[in-house]
């Protein structure tokens, strides 16, 4: 399908038109921070904002959601199950890293046993990606083979001189653009050229990023598990970890959740919430926790991203290099420091 375009100043009209038939999620500012939220009149897209605090995964896999409710009705239990999402929606403004994050989640939630809530949202959601405007020094999506200039999703787009150039990549994307055909316009050769130039300029920046030299050597499906697991450096890497859940909750690929119940006094609500392997009560069992100290929890998180996940899913890593944990960790410990310390080496020599 041919490329379409719209002026940045007209984006609100695009959102308004889309919201006639579906909910539109986009990064919205609240008290100084951006997170994905439904579009309302008056809101617009801010291309200068690189990252939302919570990644776009929160739209497909919300931090907490009800599963079932039950209450006593006479002698029996009245149980009502939360119906999976059945309305169309679009997530606008997702960057390449977060789009790649969806793929990481897909492999987990869409393989047996399929997560019906996640699946329903994936089916009803259309991803409208935008190439990031100005990558930060903390960005390293290239390390995981992500092409920031082709952000992917159902529709991908590029911003050049106040104009958003977009192209559909899937049927869903084509349907989306067809729905707004009265608002977007055709692109001439000059426009195609402008879009190509902004991509080229972006690529030049990506190559200059300070983390451009970071590699996954020493990790992944080919790495030897036990020698990596037993590396003595885990202790010093984890030594000052506070055990908070910041890295997990801002991560676009962390997928662990807990299922809990809440007694409202009238009924019980069973809901699921994001959980963090950094917490002391993570996977707590009757016999206690399998990872009693913070070093083990810390190691679990990074082994999962760099070794267990690749082992389970054909070599793909469970990190997309968005850099959120680099910016948000209270003590500035993060996956890059782990990879620098443990990467590249033959783990048996250590």
């Amino acid at each position: 399908m041919a490329m379409k375009k719209i002026a940045l100043t007209q984006l609100e009209q695009l959102f308004a038109a889309l919201s006639l038939t579906r909910k539109v999620y986009l990064p919205v500012e609240k008290a100084g921070q951006y997170d994905y939220a439904p579009w309302q009149p008056g809101l617009t897209y801010h291309p200068e904002v690189l990252h939302t605090v919570k990644s776009a995964k929160s739209v497909f896999f919300p931090q907490s959601e009800d599963l079932i409710r039950y209450k006593r009705a006479g002698l029996s239990l009245e149980i009502s199950q939360q119906a999976p999402e059945d309305e169309e929606f679009v997530v606008f403004g997702v960057h390449a890293c977060d789009v790649a994050g969806f793929e990481v989640l897909d492999r987990v939630f869409l393989s047996e046993p399929v997560d019906s809530y996640y699946k329903a949202r994936r089916e009803h959601g259309t991803v409208f990606s935008v190439m990031c405007a100005k990558p930060e020094e903390t960005c390293f999506c290239g390390t995981f083979g992500i092409d920031a200039e082709a952000p992917g999703g159902d529709v991908q787009s590029w911003l050049a001189d106040g104009v958003l150039y977009m192209e559909a990549l899937t049927e869903k994307g084509e349907a989306l653009l067809a729905a707004v055909s009265g608002i977007v316009s055709e692109v001439d050769d000059a426009g195609t050229q402008a879009a190509a130039e902004t991509r080229a300029a972006h690529k030049a920046i990506m190559e200059r990023l300070p983390l451009a030299d970071l590699t996954t050597d020493g990790f992944g499906a080919d790495a030897e598990l036990l020698p990596l697991f037993n590396r003595p450096e885990w202790k010093e890497l984890a030594s000052s970890c506070l055990g908070c859940g910041t890295c997990t909750y801002v991560c676009p690929t962390c997928q662990c959740y807990d299922i809990r119940e809440y007694n409202t006094g009238k009924e019980i609500r069973r809901f699921r919430v994001w959980d963090s392997c950094m917490y002391s009560d993570f996977t707590m069992m009757a016999a206690g926790t399998p990872r009693p100290d913070q070093m083990q929890r810390f190691r679990q998180r990074f082994m999962h991203k760099l070794k267990y996940y690749p082992d389970n899913y054909g070599g793909a890593f469970s990190c997309v290099g968005c850099g959120r944990c680099l910016q948000k960790c209270p003590i500035s410990m993060n996956i890059v420091k782990v990879m620098r310390k443990l990467g590249g080496a033959n783990h048996n020599d250590k």
Partner: protein
């Protein structure tokens, strides 16, 4: 700052070399110029990564709970670098018998205020690759992937430094500092007063908006030097409030009121909670409200000003203010 920094690092090496201490708790250089992490160095060789600069805001006091005991068990001593504000937290932990004082060598370090990389980013700098402190001592030149710029240090200070308590160390074994104590910087209760002056509806809207950002990552709790319980009530399933969810707006309010209440009278206003919050919630406004109320109701009290003080919430006088008087005072 640089002059102090060189002396601090040299002295830490020296103390390690001569065997006064066998470990040094400081800040370890990171991948970038601003991401140094708290770290306990165990050899003189490893000290090559020790840094002390404008980005060493993390308070190392809490690490002494574990490390002072460990140092004692190994028959050694751990040196800890404490900025003036950090010494309050250290004292408070001593008061609560959480640190084995005899195993710690406190090297007080002078401080001219720490910079917050997030606040530099908020000024519009993207892809920051370095900063240089200019000769005037008041501005930073910021280098980025997209060009250079300048920013006033005062505009990018960490919140706790914006309202610095003073440059005096409350406890130390040795001091390296060029600071003259000029007393507190700014009115740290100004933000609290501003809120108090609002209508209840506006106050509620303010907190609703701030707290609904909370992702319950517990960074504020875990970074807090006063939060040193072995098992937190919010992690205790039997407490009935151990919810991991931000399922409802009230959850966050309850969490944050209680978090601050549990450290009321013990909070030294070290500002770690606000500094670490990934959502930029001004959590210090809770803590400072409690501090302000305590000062007004029960007389001035500075937790951690000296070790061994009896905190206001484990104390009383027979003619204390009545809760009724509190709810009747002024406003709506």
């Amino acid at each position: 700052m640089q002059r102090v920094s060189e002396r601090v690092i040299a002295r830490a090496r020296e103390l390690m070399r001569e065997g006064t201490v066998n470990k040094v708790a400081g800040w370890k250089a990171g991948e970038f110029f601003y991401d140094c992490a708290p770290y306990v160095f165990e050899s003189e060789e490893s000290l090559k990564d020790l840094v002390y600069d404008r980005f060493c805001a993390a308070n190392l006091s809490k690490y002494m709970i574990k490390n002072s005991v460990a140092a004692g068990a190994e028959g050694g001593k751990v040196l800890v670098l404490l900025k003036p504000c950090d010494t309050y937290s250290f004292n408070q932990l001593l008061t609560e018998h959480r640190i084995a004082r005899e195993n710690v060598y406190v090297l007080g370090v002078g401080c001219e205020g720490m910079c917050d990389i997030d606040r530099i980013r908020e000024k519009g700098f993207k892809g920051i690759t370095g900063v240089d402190e200019n000769a005037d001592g008041k501005t930073l030149t910021v280098h980025t992937l997209y060009g250079d710029g300048e920013v006033a240090i005062d505009d990018v200070l960490v919140n706790k430094c914006e309202f610095c308590k003073g440059k005096a160390h409350m406890i130390f074994d040795e001091l390296i500092s060029d600071n003259e104590d000029e007393g507190p910087r700014g009115d740290r209760f100004a933000g609290v007063r501003e809120l108090e002056a609002m209508s209840p509806a506006d106050r509620f809207a303010f907190w609703q908006s701030e707290l609904s950002k909370c992702i319950r990552c517990n960074a504020c709790r875990n970074a807090c030097p006063a939060c040193s319980c072995r098992k937190c009530v919010f992690d205790n399933d039997a407490s009935g409030i151990a919810s991991k969810a931000n399922t409802d707006s009230f959850e966050e309010k309850m969490f944050h009121i209680i978090r601050a209440f549990h450290v009321a009278g013990r909070c030294t206003d070290c500002g770690e909670c606000t500094r670490v919050c990934p959502q930029g919630i001004p959590l210090h406004l809770f803590n400072r409200k409690y501090i302000k109320d305590i000062n007004e109701f029960y007389g001035e009290y500075a937790a951690g000003a000296e070790a061994g003080q009896r905190g206001p919430l484990i104390n009383y006088t027979v003619d204390d203010i009545e809760p009724a008087a509190v709810s009747d005072k002024g406003g709506n």
